[in-house]
């Protein structure tokens, strides 16, 4: 089937309209459909970034409230990659890892919207780089378990766990003697 407008290309878009019970059909090619405005070209499509920049500008509106210095706001610039907050808001992307610190005060509302209310990571930690961090999490986990054990009045297990936490905190690794019952 050829395009009903240009009669050159094959029709790839098939429109069916019902107006007052009257059915009309239209068969056009991609190019004509775009020219006639039946579909949007890819460039016009609403992207996640448009969506995000909406969030960012919402954010900068907040900072225009009295009491917050506007000029300071517009000059907020990442010392490492030189990205300004304005640029960040426009492209919706960070320029480098340090931007997260630079724009820290403005990030929570953005993350909350993008990640269903979440602002803090709770997942994998780099294995080599963050041995200490993993230790910290492990201690936190043990503490949570400890609380449950105490609530359950399982004091024997709780005492063992408390010793384990102490050992971890004093810098010993969680191996050997601690693992033994």
């Amino acid at each position: 089937m050829e395009c009903e407008v240009c009669h050159e290309n094959p029709a790839t878009l098939h429109l069916t309209n019902y107006i007052n019970g009257q059915k009309t059909e239209l068969h056009v090619c991609q190019k004509c459909a775009m020219e006639k405005g039946y579909i949007e070209s890819k460039d016009d499509a609403y992207t996640i970034h448009d969506l995000l920049s909406g969030l960012f500008s919402f954010n900068s509106n907040l900072s225009k409230q009295p009491g917050i210095n506007k000029s300071n706001q517009s000059e907020l610039t990442c010392p490492h990659c030189k990205m300004t907050y304005h640029q960040f808001a426009k492209v919706g992307k960070f320029g480098c890892a340090h931007c997260y610190k630079t724009f820290e005060d403005h990030l929570n509302p953005i993350f909350r919207r993008v990640h269903s209310g979440n602002t803090e990571h709770s997942g994998k930690i780099p294995k080599r780089q963050h041995v200490y961090l993993q230790q910290k999490r492990l201690i936190q986990d043990y503490r949570n378990q400890l609380k449950i054990l105490i609530d359950e009045e399982n004091f024997e297990e709780a005492a063992k766990l408390r010793d384990r936490i102490k050992a971890l905190e004093s810098g010993e690794s969680s191996s050997d003697s601690n693992e033994e019952e």
Binding site: K93, A97, L107, V114, T119, H121, I125, K127, R128
Partner: protein, 355 residues
């Protein structure tokens, strides 16, 4: 192995294996976004900075092996022909975005093509692993092992509060995108899928049509993936995805049974008509081919064909895309010529099954 030989060999080795629930789930993909700590992200970095990343990857990981992922080989985007890049996109080994990047971009691919590590895409590193069928748990486990292996040599940009730092705020935290590619002809035919999508979205998961533009699912193939990357652990993300996928499998199987029971002759007619078109047509557009292949695959799954292998859908969906058609023809083809070539490949492939 040269790029030529792996494009000639258009179907990735892992795709030829049958995974769990392979009657409905075509493949599972795990992607982790990672960045170097002291190099600006690709959108702002100068070429020399990005060179630090690409050189580092080449120096430490090119020609290396990790467990079953051996023969890792690095291809710089600047050294590839447009058609070779297109073919990598069609195999999902690189993204369309990477294809357009000139500055020090590349991809590290394992011999079995199960692992592809994109370098200087939107982030410095985009690690991807593919598995046949539904294998989210195994996928995550292996992705973590590879990630740890990379991290032995790379200082990742990581923040205790925000997790793995990425260029786009939509990836920060875990940097994880887990996706499952599913063939859902019966749910599509009965218009059930449209009703299920809003509920799936509420769980922070997204349903997309594959191979098509926008929400339309060409060939009834859908991709289900997580949207949220911050504030939830990788295991939790995978668990949610797993349960939704299992639900979809259950519903799809149920819808298929119902179709066979209630409209067997109509279904059979539809499937065999499509088979006829694939077997005998001389000119076929990609959309029609995808529709017919989906019908044929459904026919195989419900038992109308004993002599055809299930892998035919996955295989021909890859082979009949523009770059592979041209690779096959060894020349550049106009869209009309492609439609002719597409019909030829499909006929030849079906003939192979019959011999």
């Amino acid at each position: 192995m040269s790029l030529q030989s792996f494009i000639d060999n258009a179907i990735s080795p892992w795709m030829q294996e049958e995974g769990p629930d392979h009657d409905i789930v075509l493949s599972t993909r795990i992607r982790l976004a990672r960045n170097f700590t002291d190099v600006p992200f690709p959108i702002v970095a100068e070429e020399e900075k990005l060179k630090i990343v690409s050189n580092w990857i080449k120096e430490h990981f090119n020609q290396k092996s990790f467990n079953q992922y051996d023969g890792l080989e690095y291809f710089a985007m600047s050294t590839l022909q447009p058609i070779e890049k297109r073919a990598l996109v069609e195999k999902h080994l690189i993204s369309p975005y990477l294809m357009e990047q000139e500055k020090e971009s590349g991809v590290l691919v394992s011999k079995n093509e199960q692992v592809s590590l994109m370098v200087n895409e939107e982030d410095h590193i985009r690690l991807q692993l593919y598995f046949p069928g539904l294998q989210l748990d195994r996928g995550l486990e292996e992705a973590f092992h590879l990630d740890d292996w990379l991290e032995e040599k790379i200082d990742y940009a990581f923040d205790e509060k925000r997790g793995y730092l990425t260029s786009c705020p939509t990836n920060v935290g875990t940097g994880l995108r887990a996706s499952v590619m599913m063939h859902l002809p019966a749910l599509t035919l009965t218009s059930k899928i449209g009703k299920m999508v809003p509920a799936i979205n509420q769980l922070g998961l997204v349903v997309r049509g594959m191979y098509g533009e926008g929400s339309e699912a060409v060939g009834n193939i859908y991709q289900i993936s997580n949207q949220i990357t911050l504030g939830r652990s990788e295991q939790d993300i995978i668990e949610d995805l797993q349960s939704v996928v299992e639900k979809l499998i259950e519903q799809e199987r149920f819808a298929r049974e119902l179709l066979v029971e209630q409209s067997e002759l109509r279904l059979e007619d539809r499937v065999f008509r499509s088979y006829g078109i694939l077997k005998y047509s001389r000119i076929i557009e990609s959309k029609e081919a995808a529709k017919c292949l989906s019908d044929l695959r459904l026919g195989i799954d419900v038992g109308y064909f004993k002599h055809l292998s299930r892998s035919i859908l996955n295989e021909l969906m890859v082979l009949t895309q523009p770059a592979f058609l041209q690779q096959y023809a060894q020349e550049t083809l106009t869209p009309k010529q492609r439609d002719i070539k597409r019909a030829t490949i499909i006929r030849e492939r079906l003939r192979l099954e019959e011999s």
